[in-house]
Symmetry: C2
Subunit: 269 residues, 2 copies
């Protein structure tokens, strides 16, 4: 079905790719590449199309994340990755915010330059094993003790797939703290419009000439479409058949995987 | 101010009392009675007023909960306690539901008679230290794997106060699972109307002759008023001054503590 149409594949100059669930399936063992995806990245680059990874990954610094991707065979550099933590650091500096971090240990170095004394906000990432009862209570107490609680969430995904099964993502814990403190979090990451706009600026392509490819119907596909991009959902990663009946978001196309998307796009160049 | 009026204290035949934050402040050490509250319970009983405790307590069986209250000097029997777990067991049996329990270890015996093989729903209580990353992921995976996820939450409180500080309550974790699974939980406990109606039935007094006394502006005060009861907020437990500006709920009166409420009510008998 995806091969038949392809109208969506015309006039493309750049691609934004989600990473987990598109390039590889993450897991405690570091993850496993999805078949054909490393080759697909090489073909995109050889074609002259621009490429930027647009990820809500917050379990590692960009440097370590890229190191992992390169070890899996992906030809990617740090500058080709748009991720929430650097965007959050810009926001914290702009607004003079001093964060308490509830994030993965491996993300902490991204905030090395940020003053974290006497916190006046909480930054929440996918903290994984750091999502303990004690740590959640600590973040909650800091927020509820503020005159006007400021909660910054690095993404708002519901869940993601690792090699050993589905896991709750940062969005679930964001909702817990939002409810307990009666506040609304500010999301830095997909699907925030400002985050996609940063990624497009780094891609150097206007939204109408860019395609987002992701496995998350709401945060990848819906978010990108809100910014005027076309968006594809891959049937890998956290994709579930029921996504194809989503009440609000309809991708421009479904593709079985990144390799198939790239086949079609390159045929239309 | 509470003493001055007292119109709210007329024509009373029975009292529903919240427990944590009204009778005692809970904590890792078992808790500390709030000054004058044990004497207030004795005075209520001596006056001939009916009394029922209406609690969202899910960290112990009713038997152990009553044992703890009695050790703190409260003249209370098991039949005088309306709590979520027994109500949930009735609901599970009515609907043929087999729960996966994410609850406090000490609550598990309440579900001894319930078939828990091959679960087709999740029952969520205030699991405290059992709210681990692994346990939350396990409950999530069971729910997301169901054709139509059924999540039953024993209360939906935001947070409560223990002697060592505020803690996230079951409602926060309920919101996390609701969001991740895109479902709405069924709440068994305050502020559900059906739960207050059970407590009133056990009290044996119609709502217009009953007063609810609690420290939770939404779950105690708002919930009871929705059932046609009068409701007081005590300035103990999790009470915060900002509660007095709540946009939706206005108690019939504020009192400094249970003892003051009982003083006023007995004066009007």
């Amino acid at each position: 079905a995806a091969m038949a149409g392809g109208g969506w594949a015309r006039a493309v100059r750049g691609l934004l790719l989600d990473v987990s669930g598109v390039l590889y399936d993450s897991g405690a063992d570091g993850g496993v590449p999805i078949g054909g995806s490393a080759e697909a990245v090489r073909r995109i680059k050889a074609s002259g199309l621009k490429l930027q990874l647009c990820t809500n990954e917050t379990q590692a610094t960009r440097e370590n994340f890229v190191r992992k991707l390169r070890a899996m065979g992906f030809d990617i550099s740090v500058a080709e990755v748009t991720a929430p933590a650097p965007a959050a650091c810009r926001l914290l500096k702009e607004r003079g915010l001093r964060p308490h971090l509830l994030v993965h240990d491996d993300l902490v170095p991204e905030f090395a330059e940020i003053d974290k004394t006497n916190p006046n906000c909480v930054v929440l990432g996918d903290a994984a094993e750091n999502f303990t009862y004690a740590n959640l209570n600590e973040a909650f107490r800091l927020l509820i003790g503020m005159d006007k609680p400021v909660l910054i969430s690095l993404g708002k995904g519901r869940y993601y797939k690792e090699t050993d099964g589905l896991k709750l993502d940062v969005g679930a814990y964001m909702k817990a703290l939002e409810y307990a403190c009666d506040v609304q979090a500010e999301v830095v990451g997909k699907p925030a419009k400002r985050f996609f706009e940063s990624a497009l600026a780094e891609l150097g392509v206007p939204p109408e000439q860019a395609i987002m490819i992701g496995d998350d119907i709401v945060n990848d596909v819906g978010g990108a479409q809100q910014c005027g991009m076309r968006a594809l959902q891959v049937r890998t990663g956290k994709y579930r058949p029921s996504d194809e009946n989503h009440p609000e978001v309809k991708p421009d196309a479904y593709v079985n995987n990144l390799a198939e998307a790239v086949d079609i796009i390159l045929q239309h160049l």
